[in-house]
C-alpha cells in the first residue's frame, strides 16, 4: 500500500493540493481531504472508460487510429482544435502546435464559460491576486453569480471563508461574506448577506455601485430589485474593508450583458481601489482552463479563439470561437481533447459537429466520442499521468501520477505528438 500525499486534485479551478491518495497495487482505495466530487473522480476513474481506439465505432490499433486522425486533419481546410481545459499544460502546448501545423483554429472551453471575462479584462484591465493572499488578508468576500457550495466545494473552507489567515486570525468570524445572485442558493445560508438581484440586472447594479463609490447620489429607490439602502450599505462595507475581493462565476459571464458585466465589475473594483485594497478573481470551472488560456497566450499572444489559417495567429472571439465556427458550418473537421462539446454546445453547433469528421481524445465514453469518426482513449491527467495545471488565480501546480495507466494507454500529450508527427509527414514537412 502506498500513500501519496500533497496530491493536486484535477477537478475544479481550486486545484486543492493537500489530497492524500492511498493506492493498493494499481487501485486507488482511499482519498483523504477531498471533496465529494474529487473523491468520486479518483475512486471511479476506471468507470465508463473508453476501452480501445476506434474508427467509425470499430476497434482499431492505436497506430491506425492516429494515422486516420492525421489524415482527416491534414485534408481539412478549416480544422478546429477544441477542448483542452481538463488536461495538462504539456498537452495544451501540443494542441496549439497542431493547430499551427494544420493552419486551423485552436479554441478552449473559455469560449463557453469565462471567455467574456477575458474580453472584459482585455478592455479594462484586471486587479489580480492569489488565493493565498485572499486567505491571509481578505475581510470582505463577495460571491457574484457564483455558488461555490455546489461548484467549488472546498473554496470556502480552504481560501475564502473559513481559514484563519495571518491578518484574519478569527477565520470565519473575521470575514463578512456577501452573495449576489438572481435566485436563492445555498450561499444564502453561508453568507452574512444575500443580495437578490433581478434576472439580467447585474450590469445596472454594478454600475450604480460604482457610481455610489464615486460619491454620486443615487436617486432611484431601487436598482435591479435591490433597494437603495442595501446598495448604500454595501458600498459602505466595501469602502471600509481592509481588503475586499469579488469572486464571480458564470452567473455574471453568461447572463445578459456577458463581458460588459465583467467590465462593470472591474470598473467597480478599480473605483474601490481609490479607498482600499480590492480585487477580483473569476471562479474558473475546469481545473486547467486557466492553463489553457496561459499556454495559448504565451505561444500565440492570445488566450482562446486563435486562427492559424494565414500561418500566423489571429484572434477574434465571435468569429474564430468554436460555437461560431460550427454553427456557421465553417469547420470541416475537428479534434476534441478532454472535452465534451456534443453534450454542452448549442444544438445547431452540435448538429454540424455530427456532420463533419471528428477525432476525440478522452478517457471516458461521452456523447462526443459517440459521434466521432476516430476515438482514442488516453490516460487521465492528474491520476494516471503527470503534468502542470494552473489554478483559478494563475498559480501553476504539478499534477501527480498516482496509478499506472493500462497497457498501451498514452497521455493526451503523447497522442498529440504522434498525430503532429504524422500530419507533418502527410504535409511533407520535416518536424
Amino acid at each position: 500500500m502506498v500513500v501519496h500525499s500533497d496530491v493536486v486534485c484535477p477537478f475544479c479551478g481550486c486545484l486543492c493540493d493537500d489530497l492524500e491518495v492511498t493506492v493498493e497495487g494499481d487501485e486507488i482505495v482511499g482519498v483523504k481531504n477531498a471533496c465529494a466530487i474529487s473523491r468520486s473522480k479518483f475512486m471511479n476513474h476506471g468507470e465508463n472508460r473508453l476501452q480501445e481506439p476506434a474508427i467509425d465505432g470499430k476497434k482499431a490499433s492505436l497506430e491506425k487510429a492516429i494515422e486516420e486522425a492525421a489524415g482527416i486533419l491534414a485534408d481539412a481546410k478549416r480544422p478546429l482544435v477544441y477542448g483542452l481545459s481538463s488536461t495538462d499544460c504539456g498537452a495544451i502546448g501540443r494542441a496549439v502546435e497542431l493547430a499551427e501545423v494544420l493552419g486551423g483554429v485552436v479554441d478552449n472551453t473559455s469560449s463557453v464559460c469565462h471567455g467574456p471575462t477575458i474580453l472584459a479584462l482585455q478592455q479594462v484591465g484586471e486587479s489580480k491576486t492569489t488565493l493565498g493572499e485572499v486567505k491571509n488578508r481578505a475581510d470582505l468576500v463577495v460571491f457574484w453569480g457564483s455558488n461555490p457550495t455546489e461548484s467549488h466545494l472546498r473554496h470556502l473552507i480552504r481560501y475564502s471563508a473559513m481559514p484563519k489567515g495571518m491578518y484574519v486570525p478569527e477565520g470565519r468570524k473575521g470575514r463578512y461574506i456577501v452573495a449576489v445572485d438572481v435566485r436563492t442558493t445555498r450561499m444564502e445560508r453561508v453568507a452574512d448577506e444575500f443580495v437578490k438581484v433581478d434576472q439580467g440586472g447585474d450590469f445596472e447594479l454594478l454600475l450604480v455601485l460604482r457610481a455610489a463609490v464615486r460619491g454620486v447620489k443615487i436617486k432611484a429607490e431601487s436598482v435591479s430589485g435591490v433597494p437603495r439602502e442595501t446598495i448604500m450599505e454595501l458600498v459602505r462595507r466595501m469602502k471600509g474593508a481592509k481588503m475586499g475581493i469579488i469572486f464571480f462565476g458564470l452567473g455574471l459571464t453568461q447572463s445578459d450583458g456577458r463581458h460588459m458585466n465583467i467590465d462593470a465589475a472591474v470598473g467597480l473594483v478599480t473605483e474601490l481601489n481609490h479607498h482600499t485594497k480590492f480585487l477580483l478573481t473569476p471562479m474558473r470551472g475546469h481545473y486547467n482552463v486557466a492553463g489553457a488560456n496561459s499556454v495559448t497566450t504565451w505561444q500565440t499572444g492570445y488566450p482562446y479563439a486563435v486562427d492559424f489559417a494565414r500561418g500566423y495567429p489571429r484572434y477574434n472571439p465571435g468569429e474564430y470561437t468554436s460555437v461560431d465556427l460550427l454553427a456557421k458550418e465553417e469547420a470541416d473537421a475537428a479534434i476534441v481533447i478532454a472535452s465534451d462539446p456534443a453534450a454542452t454546445f448549442p444544438a445547431e453547433a452540435v448538429r454540424h459537429l455530427a456532420k463533419i469528421p471528428v477525432v476525440t481524445l478522452d478517457q471516458k465514453v461521452t456523447p462526443t466520442t459517440m459521434l466521432s469518426r476516430v476515438a482514442i482513449p488516453v490516460a487521465t491527467a492528474g491520476v494516471e499521468a503527470e503534468g502542470t495545471a494552473y489554478r483559478m488565480d494563475g498559480v501553476a501546480l504539478r499534477l501527480s501520477k498516482v496509478v499506472e495507466p493500462e497497457d498501451g494507454l498514452l497521455s493526451d500529450e503523447a497522442v498529440l505528438e504522434a498525430i503532429i508527427e504524422r500530419v507533418r509527414a502527410l504535409k511533407g514537412e520535416v518536424g
Binding site: E204, M260, E329
Partner: protein, 279 residues
C-alpha cells in the same frame, strides 16, 4: 469613374477572405492581374478569379476606381476593408468586416452586413441599405478606440455594441438598435431613428459625444441623470445635414422637436449626452 465588375460564381461554404476587393488594391492593374489576386479559404490560398467573374475597366488611381460586386456575398469577408479612396458597391449582402478600417472613399451595400462592418473606420462613407449585425463601427477586441472618423449609415436595424469605443465620426441608424449602443463612447455622434434598446451609452466618457434617440428608448441607465428638456440649435443643423447630404428625409420631422437631455455615465464620471426626442 471606371467600373470593375465582380460577379460571384460559386462561393464555398467556408468564408472567402477577400481584402483584395478594394480600389487601392485593384487600381493600376490589368484584369488578368486582378483575376489572379490571392484570396483565402480556410488554410488554402486561391485566386479571385475562381470565385468571381472579373470584367470592366481599371483606373490608374484608386480615387478613380469603382468596384461593383454584382451579387450576394455573405460569406466573403473584408470587402472594402482598409480602402482609402474610390468606391465599392455591393449589389447584395456583404460578409464580416465589410469596410472595416476604411479611411476614405464610399462603400454601398444594398443588402445586409455581418459583424464588424465599418469597425475602427477612420474616414469615408459606409452605407448599408439593410440591417447590420453586431459591432458595427466598433472596436476590435482589446482595442481602446473604435471609429475615429467617417460616417456609417444603416438603413435597417443594427446589432449590439454599435459604435463601441467610438472616438469621432458619425453613425446613423434608420431602424432599431440592440443593447450597448455607444458603449465606452468617447466622442462622435450616433443618431437612432428607430427604437434604442437599453444600456445605450454604458460607461461612456462622453468627451463631446452624444447619442440622439429619435424614435424612443427602452430604458435609460440609472447612472444617467435627466438634466433638462430643450431644443438644441445644433440638432437642427444636424437634421438638415442628414436630410440634405445623406438623403434621410425622415430627419426633417425632427427640426423643431424638443429633446430630453440625459448626462452620464456617472459610473465613470462621463459627460456623454443622450438626447431623446419628445413625442
Amino acid at each position: 469613374m471606371k467600373e470593375l465588375w465582380l460577379t460571384p460564381t460559386a462561393l464555398p461554404s467556408i468564408p472567402v477572405e477577400a481584402e483584395v476587393i478594394c480600389p487601392d488594391v485593384v487600381a493600376g492593374r490589368t484584369l488578368k492581374d486582378v483575376s489572379s489576386l490571392e484570396v483565402y479559404v480556410g488554410n488554402k490560398t486561391h485566386i479571385l478569379g475562381e470565385f468571381f467573374e472579373v470584367e470592366g475597366e481599371l483606373a490608374e488611381q484608386a480615387s478613380e476606381q469603382m468596384i461593383v460586386v454584382d451579387g450576394t456575398c455573405q460569406t466573403v469577408k473584408y470587402i472594402g476593408a482598409k480602402m482609402t479612396a474610390g468606391s465599392v458597391h455591393v449589389k447584395g449582402c456583404a460578409g464580416m468586416h465589410a469596410g472595416s478600417q476604411m479611411s476614405g472613399g464610399e462603400m454601398l451595400v444594398e443588402g445586409n452586413t455581418r459583424d464588424w462592418a465599418g469597425a475602427e473606420m477612420s474616414g469615408g462613407l459606409l452605407r448599408i441599405q439593410d440591417d447590420s449585425r453586431n459591432m458595427t463601427g466598433g472596436a476590435y477586441r482589446g482595442s481602446p478606440e473604435g471609429m475615429t472618423g467617417g460616417c456609417i449609415v444603416v438603413e435597417g436595424d443594427a446589432g449590439v455594441e454599435l459604435g463601441s469605443f467610438m472616438r469621432r465620426g458619425m453613425i446613423v441608424v434608420k431602424g432599431d438598435v440592440a443593447p450597448f449602443c455607444g458603449v465606452h463612447m468617447n466622442g462622435g455622434e450616433i443618431f437612432i431613428m428607430g427604437q434604442a434598446a437599453r444600456r445605450l451609452g454604458a460607461e461612456a466618457k462622453g468627451n463631446g459625444g452624444f447619442i440622439a434617440c429619435l424614435g424612443g428608448v427602452d430604458e435609460i441607465l440609472p447612472t444617467y441623470v435627466h438634466e433638462t428638456t430643450y431644443k438644441p440649435t445644433f440638432m437642427k443643423l444636424y437634421m438638415r445635414q442628414l436630410r440634405d447630404v445623406l438623403g434621410l428625409e425622415e430627419a426633417a420631422r425632427f427640426l423643431e422637436t424638443p429633446f430630453r437631455r440625459y448626462v452620464g455615465d456617472l459610473a465613470v464620471g462621463g459627460n456623454c449626452e443622450i438626447l431623446v426626442a419628445e413625442k
